[in-house]
Symmetry: C2
Subunit: 255 residues, 2 copies
C-alpha cells in the first residue's frame, strides 16, 4: 500500500519529467491540486515536499511554486550501492576481492565501529570491464562472518548481505575529496601514480544506529562524479576544512 501523498508526488513528478510542466513554469496551486486529487491540502503539501527534496520544484511564500529542473536525484540505495547505481544506469559492472583479513581495530575504528576486532577488505569494482573504483572497507565484527562467506567476485555486497542476514544499510555519512593515486591505487586502477582520484570516505549504520562499516573508496578520475541539487533552507552537503596535508602512503594494504 503506497501512501496517498506518494502517489500524488509520483504523478506530479511524471508531469514535470514529461514536460507537461516545463522548467521555469508555475505549478498548480495547492488548493487546485488538492481538489484535483480529492485530497486535503496537507496531503498535497507532503507530496510537494517530496519533489522539493528531490530538487524538482522551488517555492516562496505568497508566490506560485515553480519547476526548477528535470533531473531527479536518486535514492540512498543508489548512492550507497555501486551495483544498484550501475544497474540503474544500464552499465555492466563487476567486483573482485583482492585481499581480506581480520585484524585488531586501531585508531578511530573502535569508536566508529564499536568493536575491537574488524574485517578489512580490499575490493576492485569495474564498470564496462574497466576498473574504476578501489574500495578499502573495514567491517565491524558482527558482520565480519557474513562478509567472509561472500564469494570473492560478489557483484553486490549490499544485496548479498541483505539476503544472507537481512542487513539494511540505513544511514551513511560521506566525506568527499580528491587525492593522488598511491602505488597500490595506481597498480589496481591502471593509472599513473599521483594521478587524481575522487575519494569517498563513508561510515554506515543500521536503522538502530549500529555501525556496520567504514570505507575509503577511490574512483578513477573521469569515471564518476557526484551530483547534488539543493536550495536555501535545506541541504545536507557541507564543505569541511582539511589540514592542507595528505599522505599518499597511509593505506591499509600497502605492503
Amino acid at each position: 500500500m503506497v501512501a496517498r501523498y506518494e502517489r500524488i508526488a509520483d504523478e506530479l513528478r511524471d508531469e514535470i519529467l514529461s514536460g507537461a510542466h516545463p522548467v521555469g513554469s508555475q505549478l498548480p496551486s495547492e488548493a487546485e491540486l488538492a481538489e484535483r486529487h480529492g485530497a486535503a491540502r496537507g496531503t498535497v503539501r507532503q507530496a510537494i515536499a517530496v519533489l522539493a527534496a528531490e530538487g524538482l520544484v522551488g517555492s516562496r511564500q505568497g508566490a506560485r511554486r515553480i519547476v526548477l529542473g528535470r533531473t531527479r536525484s536518486q535514492s540512498f540505495a543508489e548512492l550507497h550501492s555501486f551495483a544498484q547505481w550501475a544497474r540503474a544506469n544500464g552499465c555492466r559492472y563487476g567486483g573482485q576481492v583482492i585481499a581480506q583479513r581480520r585484524r585488531a581495530a586501531r585508531g578511530p575504528e573502535p569508536a566508529r565501529l564499536g568493536s575491537a576486532q574488524v574485517l578489512e577488505v580490499l575490493r576492485v569494482r569495474t564498470l564496462e570491464g574497466e576498473p574504476v573504483l578501489l574500495e578499502r572497507t573495514v567491517y565491524a565484527e558482527w558482520v565480519a562472518g557474513a562478509v567472509e562467506k561472500l564469494p570473492a567476485d560478489c557483484e553486490s555486497v549490499t544485496e548479498a548481505l541483505y539476503e544472507s542476514i537481512g542487513l539494511v544499510f540505513a544511514y551513511g555519512e560521506h566525506l568527499i575529496d580528491a587525492v593522488p593515486a598511491g602505488a597500490q591505487d595506481a597498480r589496481l586502477l591502471g593509472v599513473r601514480r599521483g594521478s587524481p582520484l575522487l575519494r569517498q570516505r563513508r561510515t554506515t549504520t543500521t536503522h538502530e544506529g549500529r555501525p556496520v562499516e567504514t570505507s575509503d573508496d577511490r574512483y578513477r578520475a573521469g569515471s564518476v562524479a557526484f551530483s547534488i541539487r539543493n536550495s536555501i533552507g535545506a541541504n545536507p552537503l557541507v564543505r569541511q576544512a582539511g589540514d592542507l596535508r595528505f599522505g599518499a602512503g597511509e593505506h591499509m594494504f600497502e605492503s
Copy 2:
C-alpha cells in the same frame, strides 16, 4: 518572528549537540515533546523533520527516534558562499580577481544561462593566506554589470551582490569530481601540474528559477572536503557516470 517549530528544532539541536542526547540514544517521543513544549504533535513533527534533514536524527515507524550524529550539516548559504563558509569555520579568507571579460555565450551556456552575452571571471580564493580555490565563473548578462562593479579583491561576492542588487542565490546544482591540475591551475594554486584537484561545477538560479551563473571551482587537494549525511528515503546526492576520458587542458567550461 521565528516559527514555533524552528524554535523547537533549535532547542532539540542544542540538546543533541551539547550531548544531552548522546549519539545512538533515543529521543523523547513526539507526544512527550509536544507536551513539554506545549505544542501540537504536528508542530513537533515539523521540528524533527528539520533535524532529520540535517542528518542528526533517524526514524523508523513504530520505534523511538535515535540520534545519528553530532556534526550538523549547514545551510545552503555556506555551501554556496566560500566567504560565509570560511567565516563560520573561523578561517581567514580572501579573494582576488585574476581576469575578467565579457564575451559571447557558447556551447551549453546560452541554454543554461538564458543570455547570449556573458561575463567570465577568474578568481583565486585564499584560506589562511594560502590559495586553495580557483573559480572560473560565467555570469548571465543581467548580473554582469553588478559583478563588474565589485572590487577585484571582493571577499564575498554572494553578499556583495545581495547588498548591491538584492540578488539571492536560491537554488543550485552541483557536480563534484576530481581532475588533474592544468598549467593555469598549477600556477595559480601553487601546486604541480597534474596534481589532484577537487572540482565542483555548479549552476545557480534565483528564487524564480532565473539562472545567475555557472562555475567551475577547483579546490587544492587536502584543503577542503565535501561532507554529506544521508538516510534511506531521502538524500540528494547521486553518482553520475563520466565517460572515462578527461583532458587536462580543456578548461573554461567545456561541457
